[in-house]
Symmetry: C2
Subunit: 334 residues, 2 copies
């Protein structure tokens, strides 16, 4: 039998109101009273009924997070950052998956009902269209976007255009003129503004240097290890393949690196490779990359969330730095 607040009140010889106040550390409770109540609660193994306190007006002290996948490096880092901040603040984290269009739709239709369940929602790579955004906002939830800019929603992200521009420019600066890009064909996310921005940045860097862009240098494959393998296979079939490739994720780049080695393509002798993320294994692999601090992105987003809506930061889009890290996988063409 669970002990209720009434049990504690009776045992401690006070009213339930006093128990409630004492246990939640509110003012205007005599120290002796509080001590007695706390001791009694402890003895009875009392803890408030979650539903009851919610109904009576308590906060859920729970934040939701929705992301497409949980089995990839990026999400795991975001999650770790978020979790760290939330748990330190005594908040819980509930996670939702929205990978397929169907799941996204299901999630959106639930969004409204989450209002009594969570205090806020962190969205990761959700890329809502106008209608979907409207539904999210109408849910009444506090929203913070991670890794993507969403109109009317505070967000933390990076400048994908600029990062891609600099990655490409690095390849240009060390002398490459035939430069490919891989990862645009992210099958399951039909339109990712993030990837679109990176492609734009890549194109701008080429144009800036007076280099022309070749359609066949736009390599297919998803942002995964096997996607990287696929991209390299595609490249290997070309008569005049690029001498450098910008992979839009490190996982993909490492898949590419491995496949290149397998096919006898020397990196960076025959082919320079630059990735994106600074994955845990990037340094060990000697992979040049654009480093983003994903875990920090998560923890900062969680902090923003916790300071909402009190210090309503008024729809701020914060940009996190991205750093070019040159390692062994990029070198001048020979």
């Amino acid at each position: 039998m669970r002990a209720t607040i009434e049990d504690v009140a009776r045992e401690a010889g006070v009213s339930v109101a006093t128990v409630s106040r004492a246990l939640r550390g509110m003012d205007h409770v005599a120290e002796v009273t509080r001590d007695r109540v706390v001791a009694t609660a402890q003895r009875l193994g009392y803890s408030p009924h979650f539903g009851a306190s919610l109904l009576a007006g308590g906060a859920t002290r729970t934040i939701g997070l929705v992301a497409p996948y949980y089995d990839i490096w990026y999400t795991s880092q975001v999650l770790a950052g978020v979790e760290e901040v939330l748990s330190a603040a005594g908040h819980d984290l509930v996670i939702y998956a929205a990978d397929t269009p169907l799941n996204r739709e299901q999630f959106l239709s639930r969004a409204h009902s989450l209002q009594t369940r969570i205090d806020g929602l962190l969205i990761v790579d959700f890329f809502p269209d106008v209608g979907q955004l409207q539904r999210l906002i109408e849910s009444g939830l506090n929203l913070v976007a991670i890794g993507e800019d969403v109109a009317r929603v505070p967000s933390l992200s990076i400048d994908n255009f600029d990062a891609a521009f600099r990655a490409t420019r690095h390849l240009i600066e060390i002398g490459h003129t035939r430069i490919g890009i891989a990862g645009g064909q992210q099958v399951s996310l039909d339109t990712s503004p993030v990837l679109a921005s990176r492609i734009d940045g890549y194109q701008a860097a080429l144009a800036d240097a007076g280099l022309k862009e070749l359609a066949e240098y736009r390599l297919t494959g998803m942002l995964t290890v096997s996607g990287g393998r696929q991209a390299i296979d595609e490249l290997a079939d070309q008569l005049e393949p690029p001498t450098a490739v910008f992979f839009m994720s490190d996982e993909m780049a490492m898949g590419g690196l491995a496949q290149a080695r397998r096919l006898g393509i020397d990196v960076p002798g025959d082919l320079s490779i630059i990735g994106f993320d600074d994955h845990d294994l990037a340094e060990a692999t000697g992979l040049s990359t654009m480093r983003q601090r994903v875990r920090r992105l998560g923890s900062l987003a969680a902090e923003r969330m916790l300071s909402l809506p009190d210090h309503d930061s008024g729809r701020v889009h914060e940009l996190m730095p991205v750093e070019l890290v040159v390692r062994d996988s990029t070198a001048p063409p020979r």
Copy 2:
């Protein structure tokens, strides 16, 4: 203003009891009535108050998961598997971190209060001692353990002894006699029964082959990329280093692989390396390993949880298969 069940009842011209029954798809509601209620609820944007329905006796339809880390490959796979099953069943997932002893203690002291918040708890690498286990059980939560055997708690795991035995035997069978093991020094988890079992399996395989075990072949380092680097550094300093090493995780093995390359140690020529897990990058890296289906571990555990306590499987310890995968990183010594 949130719409309440009363609003719906009034608008639909029925009692709140009928609304409640109609919306939850219970029997004994006339089709026409149900349709009218559903339509009204829809129109008013009604969704039940979570706290109210909990208090009135509803289930939380939420499962908790506690794990030490969320930024490692293993946990991300478990999580993805769990999430997949739970969301398909209409359940939510709330995650708790328990990495440091302090966090574990905090979590345990909360466990009891989670009873009104979640319907069950999945525990990953928690390794409770007798007292801690007692507290978990007394919390009254439905428990399922993942990756570890916990007395009196249904679990899904692998046979770590056997897997390590076979990994080591593989190295022996291809001709190695000086065989090291790396990863035992998992700093933050003072005593991991999982790693202890693997060390036992390693020792048993050596003993079985009449090989003697050298203390200096027990390499230090955590199960991470940098731990692998550290282990290889330690090995490189030895006068008569092992010719093969069993790394207790693929992430560590890949760190070791990279460091070996950096130091000019040829793999598998000078050194054979076998890992554990079959990480996404293991195949690309050509890493021989002991494959465990971590994602499946998660999804099966979630299924077990959902079938509790109805079909109380009566404290069953299920073992998942582990498969030796031989790739390029292991070869006979030269």
